[in-house]
């Protein structure tokens, strides 16, 4: 199954095993994964990508489970990627989000994949956006991404999802917590989950107060706040309606196209940076390795700027031609 063209055709053919293996190859950076993602690209662009973020224990997994169930009841297919943190010590991870998927066990049309962040700190793994492409090409109608539970800095999700929901559990700190950068800016929808608990109303009010102060321009999407009880499914249909109106807004205003263009520009830049720096590493090796260069700098034979110029010289020459 390591043969890329075959994997692509099996995936497009709807084989779950091929989709699973494609995501594994993407995660592991297995040889050929770039060709794989490249081949999938033309088949993408049909799914709605929804990101769910929020602090640990906010109820993300439980809410994702209920969202998936509701979409399935509408006859839609669902792909889910749930990211959990990896251990900074062993590199291992316990990926526990699957336990909450009680409403969808046994339903193969909900494709649930647990993913380790593999040391990445933005709330997603570097492989997440490529894995989303695999689910999209497979033909999933809705793709839900659940980030690592943290909640003050998980902004990678904005770059990957069309619609971002931020979960705010009741009594999760005063309004100063919400003033902190990150969370307030990234949400298209704010979800006060566990709305049956004491303090939910207060959290709702504080959130509304904060969002009114958001520096929005005319024509911007006005973030909505929805109350849910993910355990019982209360408010989930309303949340789905809000997701839909955000999706409609993206289409009607042309914002979707802008977002998409920005996203691809960012993706191309990231790839170029990584590939270019790999080329530079090769060139450093050709010149005897970093240790050698450093020694010469330490001995005052040369300096870092000159080294950088020298290493890049062949590249620059190529570009000038």
């Amino acid at each position: 199954m390591s043969d890329t063209p075959e994997l692509v055709s099996d995936l497009l053919d709807g084989q779950h095993r091929a989709l699973a293996r494609a995501i594994t190859n993407i995660e592991n950076r297995t040889e050929g994964y770039r060709d794989l993602v490249a081949a999938l690209h033309e088949h993408t662009g049909h799914a709605d990508v929804i990101g769910i973020t929020g602090s640990p224990g906010a109820g993300k997994s439980t809410l994702v489970d209920k969202l998936a169930k509701s979409y399935r009841d509408q006859g839609l297919t669902v792909g889910i990627i749930a990211v959990d943190p990896s251990s900074p010590f062993s590199g291992g991870a316990v990926l526990g989000d699957r336990i909450r998927m009680g409403s969808n066990v046994g339903d193969m049309d909900v494709f649930f994949r647990s993913m380790s962040a593999r040391g990445n700190l933005g709330g997603l793994s570097t492989a997440t956006s490529d894995a989303v492409k695999a689910l999209d090409a497979f033909g999933k109608d809705k793709i839900i991404i659940e980030t690592v539970g943290a909640g003050q800095n998980e902004i990678d999700i904005v770059k990957t999802a069309d619609t971002v929901a931020v979960l705010v559990p009741p009594s999760s700190g005063d309004d100063v917590q919400m003033l902190k950068a990150g969370i307030l800016e990234i949400g298209d929808v704010f979800v006060v989950n566990k709305a049956d608990l004491a303090g939910a109303d207060k959290t709702f009010q504080e959130l509304r107060g904060m969002l009114e102060l958001r520096d929005d321009e005319e024509g911007d999407w006005e973030p909505e706040i929805v109350e849910t009880v993910a355990n019982t499914g209360e408010g989930v249909d309303e949340l789905i309606d809000v997701f839909q109106s955000h999706a409609d807004w993206l289409d009607e205003t042309g914002a979707r196209e802008d977002v998409e263009r920005d996203r691809y520009a960012e993706e191309i830049r990231t790839l170029l940076r990584n590939d270019a720096s790999a080329l530079v590493e090769d060139e450093i090796e050709r010149r005897g390795g970093m240790d050698d260069l450093v020694s010469r700098v330490v001995e005052r034979e040369t300096d870092p700027y000159t080294v950088a110029d020298d290493v890049l010289e062949p590249l620059r020459d190529c570009l000038d031609e």
């Binding site: 040889e31 062993s90 316990v94 990926l95 699957r98 336990i99 339903d107």
Partner: protein, 137 residues
């Protein structure tokens, strides 16, 4: 495997059937994590089909089934059948942990189980077995 590949061993630690004792599964999950594996825990009371769904979607290298109820002769072959149906049997290492009487071992091994680890097995032995026997992909 290419040099730049960043493969991690992925394991599904699965509780199947009606037994509700998962302390052992938790300890195993944690030890696997500390060994650098990526561990997906299924949660309690899963049916064989649920386990198959999880193993296929998560594309795990290792499926560790914990059974303390005595129903292993019924449940394990169903899981194996399901994996075969999705073409996932060949390259998945299947382990069984729990209380398995010696008389039942040959039957499970015939069904496709790669190893059985009873109570008291040192964690290091299980981890070593996984490192040495995880199928190449």
């Amino acid at each position: 495997m290419s040099e730049s590949s960043q493969r991690k061993i992925r394991c599904l630690v699965a509780k199947v059937g009606l037994d509700g004792h998962d302390r052992g599964a938790h300890v195993i999950a944690r030890a696997f994590r500390d060994a650098g594996f990526e561990v997906i825990y299924s949660g309690l009371h899963q049916s064989p089909d649920d386990i198959v769904q999880a193993a296929v979607q998560e594309d795990v290298d290792v499926l560790g089934i914990s059974i303390l109820s005595g129903a292993h002769n019924t449940l394990v072959p169903k899981v194996v059948e399901g994996l075969k149906e999705y073409g996932a049997f060949e390259d998945t290492l299947i382990l069984v942990g729990g209380i398995i009487p010696d008389d039942d071992r040959p039957e499970l091994e015939d069904a496709g189980v790669d190893a059985i680890f009873g109570p008291g097995t040192p964690m290091e032995e299980t981890i070593q077995f996984i490192r040495e026997n995880t199928p190449e992909r």
